[in-house]
Symmetry: C2
């Protein structure tokens, strides 16, 4: 059965949403994630259900089937391997690889994926700190918590960023925040959930939104 790039993208979006909350994924959530009209999503859900890649009950939301889950996992694996390639081998900055990987992830060749994996030294995490599932679809989970959940006085090392948007990553660059940077929580401001943190030598205030998107090993 051949899966189109558009179908793969829907499966990936469903996977991503399902990861955050453990309940059937809603049509509107998918439409928002993919920047499409809800009607287009309904169309596609029917096709995906037809192909047994999701379980779909009208008005009730969807869930990935085992087959759908596997396709999404392979797609994420390819995406993150390509991002690693672009940064480690071609020297791209981390804020410029997401869009490119969105194209490269659709290249169909298991051999290519596994050779690329080997060429990169079987990496476990991508340039944004996200885990790369292995050839069997197994995930590396790492002990890490959101910076927004850390207490004043706690120290941590930046292990992952939860948002790959170029603007966000460029902002982190400006702050001197790269993966593995040391962060110390100096003070929490309950008013707006912002925090004062120490990055290297420099103290900065980070908004709640930024803190929610930074993960640390403590």
């Amino acid at each position: 059965m051949l899966i189109t790039p558009a179908e793969e993208n829907y499966l990936k979006a469903i996977f991503k949403i399902a990861e955050q909350e453990d309940k059937p994924v809603q049509t509107n959530a998918i439409a928002h994630e993919m920047n499409t009209a809800a009607a287009s999503v309904t169309d596609m859900l029917k096709r995906l259900a037809e192909k047994q890649l999701i379980t779909y009950e009208k008005y009730r939301g969807v869930q990935l089937s085992p087959a759908g889950n596997q396709i999404a996992t392979v797609l994420i694996r390819k995406h993150r391997l390509w991002e690693t390639f672009l940064v480690d081998k071609l020297g791209f900055p981390w804020d410029q690889v997401h869009e490119l990987a969105e194209q490269l992830e659709h290249i169909q060749s298991d051999t290519l994926t596994s050779r690329l994996d080997q060429f990169l030294g079987f990496p476990s995490f991508d340039p944004h700190g996200d885990p790369i599932p292995d050839a069997q679809g197994r995930w590396n989970r790492r002990a890490q918590i959101a910076l927004s959940d850390m207490q004043a006085g706690q120290k941590g090392k930046l292990t992952a960023v939860a948002d790959d948007a170029a603007l966000f990553l460029q902002y982190l660059d400006q702050l001197g925040l790269a993966l593995h940077a040391e962060i110390t929580v100096l003070e929490r401001f309950p008013f707006d959930q912002s925090m004062k943190v120490l990055i290297g030598e420099k103290a900065t205030v980070l908004s709640e939104k930024v803190c929610q998107n930074l993960y640390c090993a403590v």
Copy 2:
């Protein structure tokens, strides 16, 4: 103006056919090259003419415009850079890279192309000995002649193969014929234009078709 992968493929096919004979490219030739119905070609030619990528006169065949030529050149450049990457960096055999490069060539990013070029050391020829146009679209032409045009007694080094089909390349592997191999023409058989040649230590008879697809520097 955005060019779709399908449009790119048509431009590449036109380029390839025009390379062989210097006259307007016929609809049927394109249809044959692309394994599509002639009617589909006519449809696409109208679209390409609309976009000013070809000059098209009904029933008269087509020619690439400067813009169309540039797109085809970049596409071939990307195709051959990816093939080089797959062989040199990922260790693919030369008979397995064509189909993959057909996918990879459509990745849209000038930055990626130039970084890949640099990563590979600005190669001038791909794994099949075909020239790779540089970032300005300039071609490396090399002094070489078809084995089928060589005379008995002549010696040469294999510089390029004119057919990327896996079956042909595997046959060459069997014969011990890799790029840069030394070939000596022992005898020509006028009856069917086959030749007896020396490859390394081994004498073999090659059909006319094979000889036409092998190029040598003498």
